[in-house]
Each structure stands twice: as structure tokens, then as C-alpha cells.
């Protein structure tokens, strides 16, 4: 057995944003994404005994989440499946195999690649954020990703504005060097 321990008390703090980012790039709907990560956490709780410690907690949770996302698409696809794509296969004659050409991917369509890149970017940033001290991570997320007003954050966390800017500065410096290694 390796050293990975399981401790569900900190799951929400540590992993919910990472899992959420992973989900939102795949299901495009905030509510669904939240439901899915909630189910993931619950499923994780139930099968805690099966956690062998071979992978980190986060990897383990992601692997549960992947299943949940697949299940989600299976569920909605049962209605969607009625809108099937009809193809003319042309089994014989000189037109045989014509449908193949129709299905070739458009080389000028880069969106799939772009999406992939952005997915990785989101996870890369959350990876770097998760290495920050929790206070810095919290303030940075509220300020940058959620776009809260300086005053709102100060009131909520009970800090002064100059305090906030110092925290933001430290977070940005650390993040920039982390992202420089991983991304730029």
C-alpha cells in the first residue's frame, strides 16, 4: 500500500472547483455539473473502503466523475436517440463506399482541438491554484474567476483592501511562475 490517505472532510474545499471545471467543459450546464459532482462526492463516500491508495484522492474522484458524466449522457441520449442520423450506404454499384468520403472530418474545422486545449487550460490553472495557500486561492478565485467587487470580498472575509491586494499579488506571482512552467 502506498501513502495516499482518504479524508472526505476536506473534499469540497480541495477538489470541488477542479471537478466542477472538469465537468463544466463537458456538460455546459451549471446545474447539471453541480448535480454530477455532488453525486460523485456521494459515490466516493459510499465506496471509500475500495480506495486502495494507489492514486491520489483527486485522480480517484475524477475517475468516478468520468463514469457519472458518461451515465448522464446515456440517460439524456435515450430521448435524443430518436433523432438518428440516416446514411445512404450504397452497398453495390460504382457508388460503393461513397458515404465514407462524406464522413471524413473537415480539416478546416479546428474547434475540437481548440476545445481540448481550453479544457486542459482550465485544469492547468486549477492545478496551480490548488498549490496556493488556501486563503490566497480563495481570494484569487473570488476576485478573478468570479469577478466579485473588492469591497464584497473584504466584507465577506473581514480583511482590508490593501490586505486584499497583497494577497492577490502573492497569488498572481505564484500562479504566473507555476503557469510559466506548465503552460506559457
Amino acid at each position: 500500500m502506498s501513502g495516499h490517505q482518504i479524508n472526505p472532510n476536506k473534499w469540497i474545499d480541495l477538489y470541488s472547483d477542479y471537478l466542477f471545471n472538469y465537468t463544466i467543459t463537458r456538460v455546459k450546464d451549471r446545474e447539471t455539473a453541480q448535480d454530477l459532482i455532488q453525486e460523485t462526492f456521494f459515490a466516493g463516500l459510499k465506496s471509500m473502503k475500495n480506495f486502495k491508495g494507489e492514486a491520489s484522492e483527486r485522480t480517484w474522484l475524477i475517475s468516478i466523475l468520468k463514469r457519472k458524466i458518461i451515465d448522464h449522457y446515456r440517460k439524456i441520449n435515450s430521448n435524443k436517440g430518436k433523432a438518428e442520423v440516416r446514411m445512404n450506404f450504397n452497398f453495390d454499384g460504382e457508388n460503393e463506399g461513397d458515404w465514407l468520403e462524406e464522413r471524413v472530418a473537415d480539416p478546416f474545422d479546428k474547434t475540437a482541438e481548440d476545445t481540448l486545449e481550453n479544457t486542459e487550460l482550465g485544469l492547468a490553472i486549477h492545478n496551480c491554484i490548488s498549490k496556493l495557500p488556501s486563503k490566497q486561492a480563495q481570494v484569487f478565485k473570488m476576485k478573478t474567476l468570479l469577478g466579485y467587487e473588492t469591497e464584497t470580498i473584504c466584507n465577506e472575509l473581514g480583511i482590508t483592501a490593501s490586505n486584499l491586494w497583497v494577497i492577490i499579488h502573492r497569488a498572481r506571482t505564484a500562479l504566473a511562475s507555476c503557469m510559466e512552467e506548465k503552460w506559457f
Partner: protein, 97 residues
């Protein structure tokens, strides 16, 4: 890379007025990422960047970071959403123990 230099600068700025400018410049630069810097502050920042290599580097990286976080795919849970999740999860946790 600039981290070490920044530490040096921070130690110096107690008795050196020139390097104190770096602190102010980075603060303005941080504020500018959220459109909260004043016009005068931005002018001073740009003048400072003309002669300060360390801050130029910081400013460039800061800008890149901001650009990345504005990508639509970078998202996280709202505070209320997270609290909601935490409450539900706490209940489930108690049920399981």
C-alpha cells in the same frame, strides 16, 4: 526567475526610494488587471516600465495570466453554490459514519 530579484528589491526599499517604486508599480499593475487602476497610476506604471526590467517581466506575465483566466473554459463554483454543496455533503457524511 524574478522572484529572487523581487525579494532583494523588497529588502532594499526601506532605505531606497527608487526601488519603492517597484512595489507601487506592481500594485498598480495588479489593479489594472481588474480595471481598477487610476489613470494617473497607469501613466506612472508605464513610465516605470520603461526603465525597470523586473517589473516589465512581471507585467507581461500578469497580463498573460489575466488573458488565460478570461478564457470561457476557466470556471469555478460560486461561493453560495459551494456552501450549498458543503451542507449537503456534510449531511451525507454524518449518515455514513
Amino acid at each position: 526567475m524574478y522572484g529572487r530579484k523581487m525579494v532583494l528589491i523588497k529588502n532594499m526599499n526601506k532605505d531606497n526610494k527608487i526601488f519603492g517604486a517597484c512595489d507601487k508599480a506592481t500594485l498598480t499593475c495588479d489593479k489594472a488587471q481588474y480595471n481598477e487602476a487610476s489613470l494617473w497610476g497607469k501613466i506612472k506604471l508605464n513610465i516605470h516600465l520603461l526603465y525597470c526590467k523586473v517589473c516589465r517581466k512581471y507585467s507581461a506575465n500578469n497580463g498573460k495570466l489575466t488573458k488565460l483566466t478570461h478564457e470561457p473554459e476557466v470556471d469555478c463554483l460560486k461561493v453560495s453554490e459551494k456552501e450549498h454543496l458543503q451542507v449537503k455533503f456534510q449531511k451525507e457524511l454524518e449518515n455514513n459514519q
